[in-house]
Assembly symmetry: C2
Homo-oligomer: 457 residues x 2
């Protein structure tokens, strides 16, 4: 342990500068305009892996953005850990809300500010530096495989395909992912539950052309008004989702589980204050923690239609659009939910408009047993470096690949995340704490140590 | 009459080319990016007036876009007509729906396609060409004043001010405006009623920053969902507007008036077919013609919020926006309605969000008596050139300045429009018929003739 700390301390600046180089590459996977930058980020990582004396590193092109695979195999008698991460990032907009340019990382009050600093470049790169540390200590005691993709922020469009086609290459005992957050720096935690995702885009078409709202207004159904009515009808005043069959497979947690969840430190006032809101607006009958973790949701992620420029235009537009996503809980299947949504949405459309529903992408919810050696190793490692036993938590976000690894490789995933909710991922001024970055690099080698011990063959 | 036709026939091409030159100037008043072009259009018109040997022509700058004034005075014993028009146009977007560039006029099956071809450059320029015709015949028999503004499409922001400050300069017996449409080329009509307008922009703010919809979704009220709920609640299923006090001053038309209105040729099937809609969606209890003319409306003209780019972004945005306008009928005061809307909209906002309502601009509804000499002169002129007596109609659009001229100058306005609803004003592929352009130039001189006769002093 002491050795690890000393080595990290001695190489702190370089560890940071390397991460900054990666953060400067605007690898936005959602926007084709950044395609070259995404490819550049992949090349950059390949070089870094090469420098770590891995046995093998390759860039696999996909129909979308490339996947990087690297491995260091020390022997068949050792357990194998597959590290997953992603080097693509969310779009940075709205740009005007950034206090410093999203792709020019800066350090302010102990945090690194940049798009991707936490999600997931910062957390993913900890694993490369952890390998460097272990190389230096000659302490590699597991077979290590690295799978780093460039499409996580667009639903890992081509990862499933790749994993299915390479099950031998990726064979492992456990998947290790750092792409989640802890309760607080002094309250280490491990995510054992994740929500799934169903993402759709809808278009409501009224008249075949934009019309003058004075000449036609009153007679012709306005697609924006209609879209608003349809969206409003998707929830009742208890914030229950009205899509037919939506809750059919949702598992109600036992009172015991809910009581255990309630132990997670959470302060309603602080939460609201941090967000600048007067109150939360969750589903009736469930606590704040529950509605963001064990209950499904429906949120409009984007809406547009008509004239949105400066000034006033009296148009009755032909079309209105919205991007709508639903967070799912265990047993809700994303494909099924998207179908239910599409059927429901078309059903509630008034006869005066046409409705189109495009199914974007989805992912399944997942749960990790706290009795697994994976959870145990992660728990022991954190206890050692944080001086505190971590608590198991459930997160509201989605990492669809977790369920995919379970299905295709038949292995569990340990969500070994070191971020914080305050890191504002997916938002302007995303940040990642220096404490968290270096604490991650320090903790990861200990995970391998305990995992190897618990899985001696 | 014959002389007039011959002169127009002999100068057809030049009359068209001059209009094309004006249409090529992208004088979009709503977008500051076009400020120079708007000014250029004003200069262009000044030159044309000069060439018409008017007694005086001046460009009056305003805090917004300039106003052009020109006059030809033949004697105090003659009645005075003030011609109003505007040289600014609506923004051309969505550009991708134009079959030819909006500012490169082309002629296809007898129509001129370009932004502003009908609204209002084409109709306004007919008046300059009509003056040329009268000059050539030496037939000017009224004092003519021309007031051409550049801010009609943004609510005539500075016109009222100008008119109030120049009541002597603008003193007249009647205002003549060509900025409306007829029922059909073989069904000439004169607009005697117009709706008013109240235009507002609303912003709903939820959390103080964009959030990850997975981490916060379910607990934090989503401003887009909330905006949709609020907009949906503004109308009931009978399409009645639910803003408190909205209908208080609306005058119900007598059964007799409604019966007369019903005589206007209107075919529901043709109307829907032209717009590509299965049905209309008007206020319960009123006909299609009534809901677009004598009943008030509420339409969302634009909405935006969250991620609207390519791909999928799982954001729970901080803000959502909408531009909302209401068409008003006689006795509804726009200022009052905007206040009622603002109060109501803030009242229905849930406690989890903040709401901002910005009052854009408004205008009052107007009605012209069919017993006025203005209406009579227009009717006689059209009967002569169309060979058919025009019918009085009410239009759903707004020309706020009509009420303003009534208030400030104490005179009526004759809406002497030659467009058609099919001209798609405010939409992509706006057009204006060659028949309509030349028929207007032919008819206007006859209006002066009859107006002079009916108003001998």
């Amino acid at each position: 342990m002491e050795q690890i700390r000393t080595y990290i301390e001695a190489n702190k600046d370089r560890f940071l500068n390397e991460l900054f180089d990666l953060l400067r590459i605007p690898s936005v996977s959602a926007d084709p305009a950044y395609k070259k930058d995404v490819a550049r980020a992949a090349e950059w990582l390949k070089e870094k892996f090469t420098a770590l004396n891995v046995d093998r590193v390759e860039i696999y092109p996909t129909k979308g953005h490339p996947i990087i695979y690297a491995e260091k195999i020390i022997g068949p008698d050792k357990p194998t850990v597959l590290v997953y991460g992603h080097y693509d990032v969310q779009p940075p907009d709205p740009l005007d809300l950034w206090e410093s340019p999203p792709f020019e990382p800066v350090i302010k009050n102990g945090k690194i500010y940049a798009r991707g600093s936490c999600d997931d470049k910062g957390q993913m790169y900890m694993h490369l530096k952890a390998l460097e540390v272990m190389n230096a200590m000659d302490a590699v005691n597991c077979n290590l495989k690295f799978l780093i993709e460039g499409e996580e922020e667009v639903g890992s469009a081509h990862l499933g395909e790749f994993v299915k086609a390479n099950t031998d290459l990726l064979a492992c005992d456990i998947v290790l992912v750092s792409d989640t957050s802890m309760v607080a720096n002094d309250v280490p935690s491990i995510t054992v539950g994740l929500r799934g995702l169903a993402y759709v885009e809808v278009t409501v078409t009224g008249p075949n052309r934009d019309l003058h709202s004075g000449t036609y207004g009153g007679a012709v159904a306005n697609p924006i008004n209609v879209l608003c009515e349809m969206i409003a009808s998707l929830k009742d005043e208890d914030q229950r989702i009205m899509v037919e069959g939506f809750y059919d497979n949702v598992v109600e947690l036992s009172q015991e589980e809910r009581t255990k969840m309630a132990e997670k430190p959470f302060n309603h006032e602080t939460y609201c204050k941090d967000l600048g809101i007067a109150d939360t607006r969750g589903e009736t009958g469930y606590s704040d923690i529950e509605v963001i973790s064990i209950r499904p949701t429906l949120d409009v992620n984007g809406i547009w239609g008509g004239y949105t420029g400066e000034g006033a235009k009296t148009v009755l537009p032909s079309k209105a659009h919205a991007k709508i996503s639903m967070r799912l809980v265990p047993n809700q299947k994303s494909g099924e939910i998207m179908e239910l949504f599409a059927r429901h949405f078309k059903k509630i459309a008034p006869p005066q408009v046409k409705v189109e529903v495009n199914l974007h992408h989805g992912g399944e919810a997942a749960v990790l047993s706290i009795d697994s050696t994976g959870y145990e190793a992660a728990s022991l490692a954190m206890k050692e470096t944080f001086g505190k036993e971590p608590i198991p938590t459930r997160e509201g976000g989605s990492i669809p690949i977790v369920a995919m690894f379970q299905d295709v490789l038949g292995v569990n995933t340990v969500l070994f995340g070191f971020g914080l909710n305050a890191d504002a991922i997916h938002s302007p001024n995303e940040s990642y704490g220096l404490f968290n970055y270096f604490k991650g690099i320090e903790t990861i080698p200990r995970f391998y140590h305990y995992f190897a011990t618990l899985n001696q063959k």
